[in-house]
């Protein structure tokens, strides 16, 4: 960095000297164009965020529930997959040796590739190496995801994921704020469903369903109620279809 004192009379920034066409001052010319790139990027990012809610993490953490199949975030999957290839006493290789060598190689890149030329075609060994490493990482990530999905499907009895009711955490009835309790749907719920699911749908004999609308839409709840499951009779014991529809309509408004 050039330091020093400000020399009186010198311009604060160099005037635009077009010796090389295409070059331009960083400030403000280039930065303004960069901002446009940034703005477009940010817009795309925000659109993605608006239309993709954060996935549900399976409710409040429960250390007693050992049936939960854990999986790391997608960007750790390749590391996770490497571990699977070194089970038992070989785990040291997977946990220490392979990541350590990988890290060392990555840090040492400038000293491994000491050729003067920079064009990727002029240094095939380096270019081939990074292409291979990238493909391997992508393959390991995909392999880990495929295996995890198969595990989850097997645990749910062969991919019948949607058949099971969403598991909401049990919370005290006083913390539940039901929406629209003046709705005729709630009156039916109170007289018919509350015996099992509780006055605030907090769950008693039946599971808690106070926020079922956050996970399932009207049609999903309707089909579940119509079919029934386990101790839950078809239509939940209600006699007419209009009664079921009213209750389901009210339930789908409960988003927790």
């Amino acid at each position: 960095m050039a330091g020093g004192e400000r020399i009186p009379g010198t311009p604060r920034y160099r005037h635009h000297l077009l010796k090389n066409p295409g070059t331009e001052p960083f400030f403000p010319n280039f930065l303004l164009k960069e901002w446009i790139v940034g703005a477009v990027f940010l817009l795309a990012f925000m659109l993605w965020v608006m239309f993709n809610p954060v996935p549900d993490g399976g409710g409040l953490a429960n250390p007693q529930d050992t049936s939960f199949i854990p999986v790391p975030d997608w960007y750790f999957l390749f590391l996770y997959q490497i571990l699977k290839y070194y089970p038992g006493s070989d785990i040291t290789i997977g946990v220490v040796l392979v990541p350590f060598i990988g890290t060392l190689l990555l840090i040492a890149v400038p000293w491994l590739d000491i050729q003067k030329s920079r064009h990727p075609y002029k240094r095939p060994l380096a270019t081939g190496g990074i292409v291979l490493a990238t493909l391997l990482t992508i393959w390991l990530t995909n392999e880990a995801a495929v295996q995890h999905n198969a595990e989850v499907a097997a645990a749910n009895g062969g991919g019948a994921l949607s058949a099971g009711l969403v598991q909401l955490p049990k919370i005290p009835a006083s913390q539940i704020h039901l929406v629209d309790t003046s709705d005729p749907g709630y009156k039916i719920f109170e007289s018919q469903c509350a015996t099992c699911h509780g006055q605030s749908a907090e769950g008693q004999i039946g599971p808690p369903i106070y926020a079922i609308g956050a996970h399932w839409n009207y049609n999903q709840i309707l089909s579940f109620v119509n079919k029934g499951m386990g101790a839950m009779p078809p239509k939940g014991g209600l006699t007419s279809e209009s009664q079921v529809e009213q209750v389901v309509k009210w339930l789908s408004k409960q988003k927790g």
Binding site: T23, P25, F41, P72, F76, L106, P110, G256
Partner: protein, 223 residues
């Protein structure tokens, strides 16, 4: 008026040399997407920094409502998502931004690699970049536990067990991270502290080094 204000400050703080170092330089044609469209690959580093900035800002706003203890963490995240004005958007930004940061950083790294931009005299900058990469991964690991949901809990339980299986120092690392025998209240507090104090401090220092080196070593010439 603006010039007078600048001069007034400049006379007292002598900001002009600093200003010259930061902003007064020409950008070569080969990194200018306005000259050659394919030069957009040179934007990946800047866009990674933009994502990191949005992560810092959204994280600051999340910290206004988030409570890092095991009885309230999950409910505070539910509260942010369902009750706070635009809370769902801010949480979404922080959640998706983490993945986007990794993707942009990876693309930036590939660009640097393919253009051979790590070659002399820029070796140190590559090393600092790799360190930034590890710090960002650590952000991901520590941030994952904070919502205190099933996924977070079990992924962290497994992750810390893996750390514990390292020979000799493993158990010490595991104790340092977990804070007790099992993943619980102390783990959440530690991960929160690492996520919001230790790692941001490390990241800001490394980013400063990264940017200072870009300025002092200049942008590499065209291929």
């Amino acid at each position: 008026m603006l010039k007078k204000a600048y001069d007034w400050i400049d006379e007292r703080l002598n900001v002009t040399p600093l200003w010259r170092d930061v902003a007064d330089h020409d950008v070569p044609a080969h990194v200018n997407p306005a000259v050659k469209m394919s030069a957009f690959v040179y934007c990946f580093g800047g866009l990674t920094f933009l994502v990191i900035t949005t992560q810092i800002l959204s994280g600051m706003f999340l910290a206004m409502y988030y409570t890092p203890d095991i009885t309230n963490a999950w409910y505070s995240v539910q509260y942010i998502t369902n009750e706070v004005l635009l809370g769902e958007v801010v949480r979404g930004m922080h959640f998706w931004g983490a993945s986007l940061c990794i993707i942009m950083m990876f693309l930036h790294m590939l660009r640097v690699f393919f253009t051979g931009a790590y070659k002399a005299p820029r070796e140190m900058n590559w090393v600092v970049g790799v360190l930034i990469f590890f710090v960002v991964l650590a952000f991901g690991f520590t941030g994952y536990l904070l919502p205190w949901n099933q996924k977070a809990y079990w992924a962290t339980a497994v992750g810390t067990q893996i750390a514990g299986s390292i020979p000799l120092i493993g158990p010490y690392i595991q104790t340092l991270l977990v804070g007790s025998h099992t993943v619980g209240a102390l783990t959440l507090t530690r991960f929160f502290a690492i996520h919001v104090f230790f790692l941001p401090a490390a990241l800001l220092v490394l980013l400063a080094l990264h940017f200072i080196m870009i300025r002092s070593q200049h942008i590499a010439g065209p291929l």
